[in-house]
């Protein structure tokens, strides 16, 4: 890499060729003010605050200027400071900022710059425009009064989330950020990921659930990993006086963009479920509260005296918790399963049967953004793995051909080049595709033979051929299989397709912690004597509810009240996601740390200790 030497404020700087002056300065500890630039987003040179004097004559924004040999840059001359002061004042008074009653007071990049440029009064009187406030969204308040039109939210929604919900509308002074074609935010294509809010430098986009709970400076910051799905996004958790204030995505760079989704960012803050603090024992319609010690005894007793025990754990727990639980359950002779593990077991069977090697599986899900074609089976990943969905949308916006196959709606309709709707099992479509690939196109040209198979399944030969052609043309195909596909036939045909065509597979299951790949699990008794459910933060999971219904006696360990806990005979408190320490394995097989952000609000301080004791009482 060639380097370039140039001068900044009299100091000589060496920088990589191709860098911007702003980045080179920041690397060397020289701060240049900015409002529209963000490390995860493309530079647009819109705010004009980063202007510097070049060679004593030109005034150029440093975020757009590439380093060049011999440049003479001055970042703090009287002239540029004057320009910056004027722009700051224009922005502050022409829109409608008022620090005294703004939620972002203390957490605002504009305010920080006003302080830095010592603006203690206005040269020009304030305008008093009235801009609309949109609070139609469940989580986000969009207040155009505080908006400085830096465009970060628009770029975040476009470049990082791939959703393109926001854009700039109107000209001149009427310019503002609009949602879709003028819709309220709560009734739009917004995915509620909150990325726009995170990058907003002022209080224009704020979190309804964090407002007025504390400024970041006064909060404790814990860096952890989200356990809502297997992508395992890094989280920055802000807490104050033992309560969650705000959760933001960490890892903010152009690569990952530091995303979170609705489940990771907002759900924990609006959790209104009643916390389970004591053990509850229900017998003959009577409820008694027990201490933790008593509850432990009771549970051990029941387990000891039963034969058919089904143990089922949530997939959103740490490796250590899952380990301890499985050990305890096996000690009592139980069959043990985890949410999402069944699908993984089927996969393993299929892989073995068709002799499929690991080489056909994607090692890093971010590779999605480099694929030439994506074939997506089951678009429900829009809900189950939103950040993965954003990678797909980004790829599609940048030229990747996206084909989706779903039984109902195509949740990627806005980005897909082709949507195929076919009822289950989708395996029929793939089987035909494989057949064509193996036997050649002639095998499908005999329509009469084909239509007897197709009849009633609404698979059109044209769809089959499109998929075949798509895969044949390109060199890098990725096939993504969503969580809804759980039958072995479908999995087999899809894996086979990847093997035939040299494509790469990403196979998703519902477990957040992919420790299920190493932890041994098996199918459990469907009508056991005892069902022990470690629900954690899960609410009313279908399989868990069924087990509890069909069991003679059910033990549910959960953090909060739900239908599940109402049905159980013995309810034991559990830690919540933010009270746990431990590790988790993400979809790429990387081990990530989960750190405790708040002290447990229940008597049980360590689940591991609890399960160890339970194991000992066999």
């Amino acid at each position: 890499m060639t380097t370039v030497k140039f001068n900044v404020d009299g100091k000589e700087i060496i920088a990589q060729e191709g860098m911007t002056v702003m980045d080179a300065c920041e690397e060397n500890g020289i701060e240049i003010p900015k409002l529209c630039k963000h490390e995860a987003l493309e530079n647009v040179m819109a705010c004009r605050l980063c202007v510097v004097e070049v060679d004593d004559k030109r005034i150029i924004p440093s975020c757009g200027l590439e380093v060049d040999e011999g440049l003479d840059i001055k970042t703090q001359t009287e002239k540029v400071r004057k320009h910056r002061r004027m722009i700051l004042e224009l922005v502050y008074r022409c829109e409608n900022h008022y620090c005294m009653f703004c939620e972002s007071d203390g957490d605002c990049e504009l305010q920080d710059l006003m302080y830095e440029y010592e603006i203690d009064h206005f040269e020009f009187p304030r305008m008093f425009p009235e801009w609309p406030v949109d609070s139609s969204h469940d989580h986000i308040i969009k207040d155009s009064n505080r908006c400085i039109r830096c465009g970060r939210c628009i770029r975040a929604c476009d470049e990082v989330v791939g959703n393109q919900t926001l854009s700039l509308g109107g000209r001149g002074i009427t310019n503002k950020v609009v949602v879709d074609s003028g819709q309220p935010l709560g009734d739009s294509t917004c995915t509620s990921c909150g990325m726009c809010m995170q990058v907003c430098p002022t209080g224009a986009l704020s979190n309804k659930h964090s407002m007025f709970k504390g400024i970041k400076e006064e909060c404790e910051l814990t860096n952890s990993t989200c356990l809502s799905c297997s992508i395992g996004c890094g989280t920055d958790i802000y807490t104050r006086t033992g309560h969650l204030v705000e959760i933001e995505g960490s890892d903010m760079d152009k690569e990952s963009g530091g995303q979170l989704c609705e489940r990771g960012r907002f759900k924990p803050l609006i959790d209104r479920g009643k916390r389970i603090t004591n053990v509850i024992y229900r017998e003959n319609g009577e409820e008694t509260e027990l201490s933790l010690e008593e509850g432990l005894e009771k549970a051990a007793n029941i387990l000891r005296n039963s034969n058919e025990i089904s143990a089922f754990a949530s997939g959103g727990l740490t490796c250590e918790a899952l380990d301890a639980f499985s050990k305890a359950m096996r000690a009592h002779g139980a069959l043990f399963d985890i949410v999402g593990a069944k699908r993984y077991r089927f996969e393993t069977e299929v892989k073995r049967r068709i002799n499929m090697i690991e080489g056909h599986f994607v090692q890093d899900v971010k590779e999605i953004m480099k694929a030439e074609n994506i074939l997506l089976y089951d678009t429900s990943i829009y809900h189950t793995h939103p950040v993965l969905a954003s990678y797909i949308r980004r790829a599609a916006s940048n030229g990747t051909t996206l084909m989706t196959i779903d039984a109902y709606e195509d949740r990627f309709w806005n980005h897909a080049d082709k949507s195929i709707t076919i009822e289950s099992p989708k395996t029929q479509l793939t089987r035909l595709v494989n057949q064509v690939i193996k036997e050649g196109k002639a095998s499908i040209e005999d329509l009469s033979r084909v239509s007897s198979i197709l009849g009633g399944l609404r698979v059109h030969p044209r769809d089959v051929m499109e998929i075949v052609n798509l895969l044949e043309e390109a060199s890098y195909d990725i096939i993504i299989i969503g969580c809804e596909i759980i039958d072995r036939w479908s999995l087999r045909h899809i894996f086979e397709l990847a093997k035939l065509e040299g494509g790469y597979v990403i196979s998703l299951n519902k477990a957040s912690n992919q420790y299920i790949r190493s932890l041994e699990t098996e199918g459990v008794y469907e009508e056991p004597e005892v069902a022990y459910i470690l629900a954690g933060d899960e609410e009313d999971h279908e399989d868990m509810m069924k087990l509890v219904e069909n069991a003679d006696f059910s033990i549910v360990q959960s953090s909060k009240n739900s239908k599940l806990t109402e049905m159980a005979d013995l309810v034991i408190p559990s830690l919540s996601m933010y009270e746990r320490n431990g590790t988790t394995i993400d979809i790429d097989g990387n081990k990530k740390e989960v750190k405790k952000a708040i002290e447990p609000k229940v008597e049980m301080k360590s689940e591991i200790a609890f399960f160890e004791e339970l194991a000992n009482k066999r």
């Binding site: 008022y98 620090c99 005294m100 009653f101 007071d105 305010q111 006003m114 302080y115 830095e116 440029y117 010592e118 603006i119 203690d120 009064h121 206005f122 009187p125 304030r126 008093f128 009235e130």
Partner: protein
């Protein structure tokens, strides 16, 4: 002691007096101040409200009616150095919220629509006339120094006063400036 002590006057326009309260937070420094300056008139600290010729004038509050304007002009005439305390005086403050509407409509809504059947918009010679828009002090008179804050903390106020007593115009830098 005696004749070379700078004279100080303070006034409160349409303000909550929070800046004056914050000033009193300087605690023991008040005793020092009493020896360093002579308060000629002040909003909360003294009974004397009439403004005379002084060296340093301090103003808090937004300008919202013609009485405020009169006081402001009087302050400017009588003070060598004029200091604006607090966000209301420096920027306009909370009172400027009424600038988004028309004052007549606002008065109608408050007194007539939301009042009982006998309620009318007050109209008496004794009541100062409201200005069309609420303004910061420097929109009416010239100000020499600004100490923003809502209210400015006691330390900041003390810093400002100390600077003035040294004969300098206080200018808050980025570590001290807080709205």
């Amino acid at each position: 002691m005696g004749k070379n002590k700078p004279k100080v006057a303070t006034a409160c326009m349409c303000g909550c007096s929070g800046c004056h309260m914050s000033f009193l937070d300087v605690d023991e420094f008040v005793k020092d101040l009493a020896e360093l300056v002579e308060f000629q008139s002040s909003h909360v600290i003294m009974d004397v409200k009439d403004i005379d010729k002084v060296d340093i004038g301090i103003m808090e509050g937004t300008i919202t009616n013609d009485e405020n304007i009169e006081v402001a002009k009087k302050m400017r005439e009588n003070c060598d150095i004029l200091v604006a305390w607090g966000d209301c005086a420096c920027f306009g403050g909370i009172m400027t919220m009424r600038n988004f509407g028309q004052i007549d409509n606002i008065l109608e809504e408050c007194y007539v629509e939301k009042g009982d059947e006998d309620s009318v918009v007050p109209d008496d010679d004794l009541i100062p006339t409201l200005t069309k828009k609420a303004k910061s002090v420097d929109e009416v008179i010239e100000v020499d120094a600004y100490i923003p804050g809502c209210p400015p903390s006691a330390e900041i106020i003390r810093y400002g006063l100390e600077k003035l007593l040294e004969g300098e115009i206080p200018k808050l830098d980025k570590d001290k400036l807080r709205y």
